[in-house]
């Protein structure tokens, strides 16, 4: 469906990749709602996936008591809601991540503060 309009209705999208210092990546931690919403971060495409997990995620999620207990070898990842296996040694771009992609991780056994999903 299209917008009903009195004339031509064409406007540039506000959030194309060229406007950001780096492509945006959205990251969510399943079963953990204390950090209330998925994060939005611009990350360099050349950054190794493992460097993101070990370097960037602690600053974002470290305040959660479950974070220190994560066994990353057991984490289950998804991209756009579909099961997905990242290669920690490869870059974000080599892992196929582009502007405005959504990835999520589940950490089996960890379900938030007192199992509250928070």
């Amino acid at each position: 469906m299209a917008v009903a309009s009195v004339g031509k209705y064409e406007f540039a999208p506000k959030d194309t990749a060229d406007k950001f210092p780096a492509p945006l990546l959205y990251i969510g931690w399943e079963d953990h709602l204390m950090l209330c919403a998925p994060f939005c971060v611009p990350l360099p495409p050349v950054m190794k996936f493992g460097d993101m997990v070990n370097g960037a995620l602690p600053g974002m999620y470290g305040a959660h008591p479950d974070f220190a207990k994560i066994d990353w070898t057991k984490a289950e990842w998804s991209k756009s809601g579909q099961p997905w296996k990242p290669d920690f040694e490869k870059s974000l771009a080599e892992n196929g991540l582009g502007h405005k992609d959504v990835i999520r991780f589940r950490t089996p056994g960890l379900t938030g503060i007192k199992g509250s999903f928070h």
């Binding site: 399943e30 994060f39 305040a63 379900t111 928070h118």
Partner: protein, 515 residues
């Protein structure tokens, strides 16, 4: 000589003479050129005279009533100010609900004024034009009286001084702002369904009433007075909303699917804005009126249910997101307040974790969900705070492309899973928080690709003052964004505990009640 006394005109005659008889059909210009916006939305109107204005109000009577209301209101406001009425409120935490109202709601009253002025010019029938004109005047009166009433608080408390500037910039205010910008940039008929019907009729009792009854429960005569002064206008607005939808539906059967789509859209858009009210009712009022869940049951499920049963004879169905909204009443306020607790450094009002007594009330009102999902979170925060580690989230959240709210909403029926929805348009991905917001996006992607999403705008570098230097080694993005918001770190934001508002209120109240 016998005096010849003219018979006084009846209400109906006066109404006809002073509204419809003042209109005419143009002959020098085509009707289409005078009213250029009445066809492009696809709505078909065959006879504008069929619109019935149940109030039959004329302008002369309108001015008289409104002037009388203003006199009463300003007398109460003067008394409130002179008696330091602000010290009579239940607790200084209450004042934060007024900051939320002034930054989030009052600017919408002004936008409603503009919207109805525009529609009042564009509708081709004299009856709805006059009704819209009056509503337009009501709305600017509401904006002004709210600003006047709350200006008294601005003399004493933080967070009130830049409400207009902030409405166009602060992250959570993009939610009500984009809601109204969406309506005002639609055609006149969609605007009438969006604001006149969905907002004023279906949702107003869940927006306005909780704030005003909250004011009454918490001893705030000032805010209560403007609420009551506006209330008599609201009943006229609700009637206009209902009459206009019936009128449109009766005019042509082709109008039904268009109207139904707008009802689905605007119910959901409005419901998302009410997120702010839900958390206000359950978490921000020191003395609560009723829970969000109870308010939803009375005003939405009962009253709204009756309304849609009535509209069923026109073929109108209950809005699409209805069942989900009803189920979410168990979770909405708790999840929303957690967002503000997370980002308490970036909002111009104070936040706090609920006290043990607050939590008892919440457990009682939400027996199936509070203890299971939310109490452990608040207890964790409180324990951290006791150790001097009050949690503030410093990474920016992902926002919904449509409602612009951080993506915290959970799946229908599963409060442990955040809901993610994705659309692709012209090769780019767009993310929404729910089926409702996704459908709105998918119906008009050209519109929502323009969304001014605060998080993205910050990353694009558009939310700093001209003096800011993002290249400087000590550049602190959060501090710079707050400067651009015109918020002072540590004064206007952060936790209520230890705030200047809390200290001042306690000191002034002690002065007022003893030596």
């Amino acid at each position: 000589m016998d005096m010849k006394v003219n018979k006084k005109l009846g209400l109906k005659e006066r109404y006809n003479l002073m509204t419809r008889d003042l209109a005419w059909t143009p002959t020098y210009q085509a009707v289409k050129d005078v009213f250029p916006y009445t066809e492009y939305e696809g709505i078909k109107i065959h006879d504008w005279d069929k619109f019935e204005d149940p109030f039959r109000m004329t302008m002369d009577a309108y001015w008289k009533y409104q002037a009388e209301k203003e006199r009463k209101l300003y007398a109460i406001m003067d008394a409130f100010t002179q008696n330091n009425g602000h010290l009579g409120v239940s607790d200084a935490r209450y004042i934060n609900t007024l900051k939320l109202f002034l930054t989030g709601v009052s600017p919408l009253e002004y936008m409603a004024h503009r919207g109805f002025a525009h529609v009042g010019r564009q509708l081709a029938g004299a009856g709805p034009r006059v009704a819209c004109l009056m509503q337009s005047l009501d709305e600017i009166r509401h904006a002004q009286t709210q600003i006047h009433s709350l200006s008294n608080y601005n003399k004493h408390y933080n967070g009130f001084n830049n409400w207009r500037h902030q409405h166009d910039r602060v992250w959570y205010l993009s939610v009500p702002k984009s809601f109204f910008d969406d309506a005002i940039s639609a055609g006149p008929f969609e605007y009438m369904i969006a604001i006149g019907f969905a907002f004023e009729y279906v949702l107003t009792n869940l927006l306005f009433v909780p704030f005003i009854s909250g004011a009454a429960y918490n001893g705030d005569m000032g805010a209560m007075a403007f609420g009551f002064s506006a209330q008599s206008d609201e009943s006229r607005h609700m009637t206009l909303g209902l009459e206009i939808i019936k009128f449109i539906l009766e005019q042509d059967p082709d109008n039904l699917p268009i109207v139904q789509r707008w009802i689905d859209k605007w119910f959901w858009r409005g419901y998302r804005v009410l997120t702010l009210v839900a958390m206000m009712m359950d978490y921000m009022l020191p003395k609560r009126v009723m829970s969000w869940k109870e308010a939803w049951e009375i005003y939405a499920e009962e009253n709204g249910g009756a309304l849609f049963a009535d509209l069923a004879r026109y073929g109108i169905k209950v809005p699409k997101g209805w069942a989900q909204a009803c189920a979410d009443k168990e979770h909405l306020s708790h999840q929303a307040w957690n967002v503000f607790y997370n980002y308490g450094a970036a909002a111009p009002f104070h936040t706090w974790a609920p006290s043990e007594k607050d939590m008892e009330w919440l457990s009682q009102k939400y027996p199936d969900t509070f203890d299971k999902y939310y109490r452990p979170l608040w207890e964790h925060y409180a324990a951290e705070q006791k150790e001097g580690k009050r949690f503030y989230n410093t990474t920016l959240p992902m926002l919904c492309q449509t409602c612009q709210i951080p993506m915290f909403f959970t799946e229908h029926g599963d409060p442990s899973k955040v809901a993610y929805r994705e659309s692709t348009y012209h090769g780019m991905k767009y993310h929404t928080c729910s089926d409702g917001c996704k459908e709105i996006f998918d119906n008009e992607p050209e519109k929502y690709v323009q969304s001014w999403l605060p998080v993205h705008q910050i990353y694009q570098g558009n939310c700093f003052t001209p003096e800011a230097n993002p290249g400087a080694p000590d550049f602190n993005p959060l501090a710079e964004v707050l400067k651009w918001y015109r918020m002072e770190m540590g004064r206007d934001n952060l936790d209520f505990e230890g705030s200047q508002d809390q200290k001042n209120f306690a000191a002034w109240r002690a002065q007022a009640s003893g030596n």
